[in-house]
């Protein structure tokens, strides 16, 4: 797998060893290469430096061909999920000082098709998300003001509304790896967001779409998604909630 790792591109800033760090980045242009290779870059350290800052240093000072996605740099837009030292993380909220003194390995999210370098094709991820119909399906006409929802009802969906669609869980799920049809943890978490929403009027219909081999019953409860989530959400718990509801409905006729 690894070629071209010997060359180290150094930053223009001349700094002592203690003042720099090494980012070992998986490079891959599928239109030109059969397999990825690694390239190591030396980047000046400073307090508060994030992996995303390091990638920008490379892009702007060392190698303008580096490809990655980013935007908010504050862990809310979900653009910069990638594999850092073996684990899926948001590059923008991963501080270099938290990763020890060694070389930092940066790779794209696993499983997904690489477009170039750290940028992966997220179309299958968003397609799964769109399949769960991620919008409120209300049965009654909208009132003149707001639909009422008590604080406890609102709390029931609190966790799921925090999902930033970064795809870390999806890419880390080994069931997703083996099944193209499986909705995956993110879509199921968001499906649960609507099933648990007191305002949604299509819970039965939603469960019909979810309670099958492509949906909740495919989950093997491996918790990869829980480990992967940079927002500390628990998609497995959502899937279990849906499973419980679907089973109850099967037994009693009511969810």
């Amino acid at each position: 797998m690894e070629t071209g790792g010997a060359e180290v591109l150094k930053g223009a800033v001349d700094m002592a060893d203690a003042g720099t760090m090494r980012l070992r980045i998986q490079r891959f242009d599928p239109s030109k290469e059969a397999v990825p290779h690694f390239q190591t870059f030396e980047v000046p350290r400073r307090p508060g430096l994030t992996v995303l800052d390091g990638l920008f240093y490379i892009l702007e000072r060392l190698d303008g061909s580096l490809a990655f996605r980013y935007s908010c740099r504050s862990a809310i837009c979900g653009s910069c999920a990638m594999t850092i030292n073996g684990a899926p993380r948001l590059a923008c909220q991963t501080l270099v000082e938290g990763l020890g003194r060694g070389e930092i390995a940066v790779k794209p999210l696993p499983h997904l098709t690489v477009e170039r370098d750290l940028a992966v094709d997220l179309r299958p991820f968003f397609a799964a998300y769109e399949r769960i119909r991620p919008y409120l399906l209300a049965t009654s006409a909208a009132p003149a003001k707001e639909r009422l929802q008590g604080p406890a009802e609102r709390r029931a969906i609190d966790e799921m509304t925090m999902c930033i669609l970064c795809a870390s869980c999806y890419a880390s799920c080994q069931v997703v790896w083996t099944s193209e049809e499986y909705l995956g943890p993110q879509a199921l978490l968001m499906a649960n967001r609507f099933v648990q929403d007191s305002r949604d009027g299509a819970k039965e219909e939603r469960l019909d779409h979810l309670a099958n081999e492509e949906g909740i019953w495919r989950c093997h409860t491996m918790f990869n998604c829980v480990v992967a989530c940079p927002k500390n959400l628990n998609p497995t718990w959502s899937i279990q909630q849906l499973k419980r509801r679907a089973a109850k409905r099967r037994l009693t006729g009511r969810s």
């Binding site: 604080p151 609190d158 949604d200």
Partner: protein, 564 residues
């Protein structure tokens, strides 16, 4: 060539709202630089204003009170008919967001919760904890999916095509593939957000470069009130990530090195909930006069709010502090300083988002209606996106129904060819200057000389520096020479546009010899309604911006002294 009746550019809240509206009666497509769920609207934390009169203590709130607060907050530069309209439409627009499924935080009786915000007479800010923008953005994107609106993702607009006095469409670059394409449309709506990255210290996303605003300016569109730049009082040191106004709305204190709640000196009644321009100046004054902490910051202290309230109302704030500062605001004050946050200025539009060019519209932060005047109130930006996004979408749909002429296809083909040539030449650039270095110099100049406090001396230095950068930007080097996924090309092709926008901001600030709202001149510390109660409009001339004045529309409220 792609063809649609209406092309909405920008996938944040304003763009989504415009696309949802326009798609009801016209063939509409949405073109975005990022996937819509990545838009910077999602970073909005504190909330969206509407006089719902839900909260205890807010029962007497009305659209008129909301409008008055907004006009006063704007330091009387907002157009009052536009403000009244926004505040009238605020409640219906927020209810609509709720009907679409937005998970607002709730009062015990199930109605939408509201919190106090700066410069507001009542608790008027509807919220979802401290991730309001995020949950609204995701909800609106769901609404877009429900309606099946065509979306072009990861396209960056490089040129706005105006021919025969009408808007004909845009030329855009698909970032992953490097494909350049013409998008012909009988109406184009820009909803491309802010220009925070003109500054080194900004809360804005890295993509908030103002590039599309620069594209409109380069096409001859007038841009208004660009000298009014909002600095948010509370951004964390180092990254300048936003600490929501909700921190203070929920009761947080601002404290200097001496342990004083220094807002006592500057806004004894409103204290920490004075409008942002005033709070930012107060913090900067404390720092400048030596009462800040070493490193140039003061403390935002939430400790007295207690763990339960912080966990419930400000979980995102806590998350950011833990990840980016390594502190927990439950037991440690947050080191903050002011940072660029919002562009009050933008594309000069009327109350329907229409620019001076038939068929070209703008909404949201990229537009200047103006509802924010010289200083925006917190919670009014999200409101502006939905009210004016909707209005622009409706107006564009009406335009394509009534405007007879179709698109000038040969003009679009010519523009595409020209643009390909221009970008190819840009790609071939191999001069001595590093474009990222020039951008850094530009950002530092803007923060240092065109920041919270301004003076003739500093602004003149900035204008000279910007002129120098303009020259040097003609001699940059692009390292990577391919079209596909070329961030070097995509990001740095915006640099000349950013420099020109900075030129408009700095020159506009130099010309405005008064202090009004966010524009604070040390050499002209008073507001001067006799000389400056007007909007600045800049058009691109051969040698730089050409400035003109536009009257401020005043309906009910005569300018008065602003006290809090």
């Amino acid at each position: 060539m792609k063809r649609h009746d209406i092309l909405v550019v920008g996938g944040g809240m304003a763009g989504l709202r415009a696309a949802i509206e326009a798609s009801q009666s016209a063939d509409t497509a949405l073109l975005t630089r990022l996937h819509p769920v990545r838009a910077h609207s999602g970073a909005a934390q504190g909330g969206i204003n509407a006089p719902l009169a839900n909260a205890e203590g807010g029962k007497n709130d009305t659209p008129e009170m909301h409008a008055y607060d907004t006009v006063k907050g704007s330091d009387f530069l907002a157009d009052q008919d536009a403000v009244e309209l926004m505040c009238q439409e605020a409640a219906p627009c927020v209810y609509e967001l709720e009907h679409w499924g937005t998970p607002f935080s709730r009062l015990p009786d199930g109605r939408i919760a509201q919190r106090p915000f700066g410069g507001a007479g009542f608790p008027r800010t509807c919220y979802a904890a401290d991730v309001t923008g995020h949950v609204i953005l995701i909800t609106m994107h769901g609404e877009l999916l429900r309606r099946g609106v065509t979306t072009y993702e990861e396209w960056q607009v490089t040129r706005l095509v105006i021919e025969g006095g009408r808007c004909q469409g845009v030329i855009a670059l698909h970032v992953p593939s490097g494909e350049l394409e013409a998008f012909a449309a009988r109406a184009v709506i820009f909803a491309t957000g802010g220009a925070g990255r003109l500054y080194s210290r900004s809360t804005n996303a890295l993509h908030s470069t103002g590039g599309a605003l620069g594209v409109a300016y380069a096409a001859g569109i007038g841009i208004k009130d660009m000298e009014f730049v909002q600095f948010h009082p509370t951004t964390i040191i180092g990254t300048n990530i936003l600490m929501s106004e909700a921190c203070r709305g929920e009761g947080g204190y601002l404290v200097n090195r001496l342990g004083e709640r220094f807002m006592q000196r500057y806004a004894p009644k409103a204290m920490e909930l004075a409008p942002r321009d005033i709070v930012s100046r107060s913090i900067q004054t404390e720092i400048d006069e030596g009462r800040g902490f070493e490193g140039g910051f003061v403390h935002l202290d939430l400790r007295h709010l207690g763990k339960a309230k912080i966990m419930e109302r400000l979980p995102g704030i806590r998350d950011i502090c833990q990840h980016f500062l390594g502190i927990d605001p439950i037991d440690t004050p947050i080191p903050i300083q002011p940072g660029q946050h919002y562009a009050m200025g933008g594309i000069d539009t009327d109350n329907d988002g229409a620019s001076e060019i038939p068929g070209f519209y703008a909404a949201g932060e990229v537009a200047c209606v103006s509802v924010h005047g010289a200083n925006r109130l917190g919670g009014n930006s999200l409101l502006e996106t939905v009210v004016f996004g909707k209005r622009a979408g409706a107006a564009a749909a009406q335009h394509v129904k009534t405007a007879g002429a179709g698109v000038d296809i040969p003009a679009m083909e010519r523009a595409l060819a020209e643009e390909r040539g221009r970008l190819q030449a840009f790609l071939n650039s191999s001069g001595p200057e590093n474009p990222a270095g020039l951008r850094d110099e530009l950002q530092r100049t803007m923060t240092d000389q065109v920041g919270i406090f301004r003076s003739r001396e500093g602004l003149e230095a900035a204008v000279r520096k910007i002129a120098e950068l303009k020259q040097r930007a003609a001699r940059i080097n692009i390292m990577f020479k391919e079209w596909r996924f070329n961030l070097d090309l995509v990001n740095h092709s915006e640099l000349p546009l950013m420099i020109e926008l900075a030129e408009v901001v700095a020159q506009g600030a130099l010309r405005r010899e008064e202090s009004r709202g966010s524009h604070s001149r040390r050499d002209f510390p008073k507001r001067d309604d006799d000389r400056f109660l007007w909007h600045t409009v800049a058009h691109r001339g051969r040698e730089g911006p050409v400035f003109a004045r536009k009257p401020v529309r005043i309906t009910k409220w005569k300018p008065e002294e602003r006290k809090y």
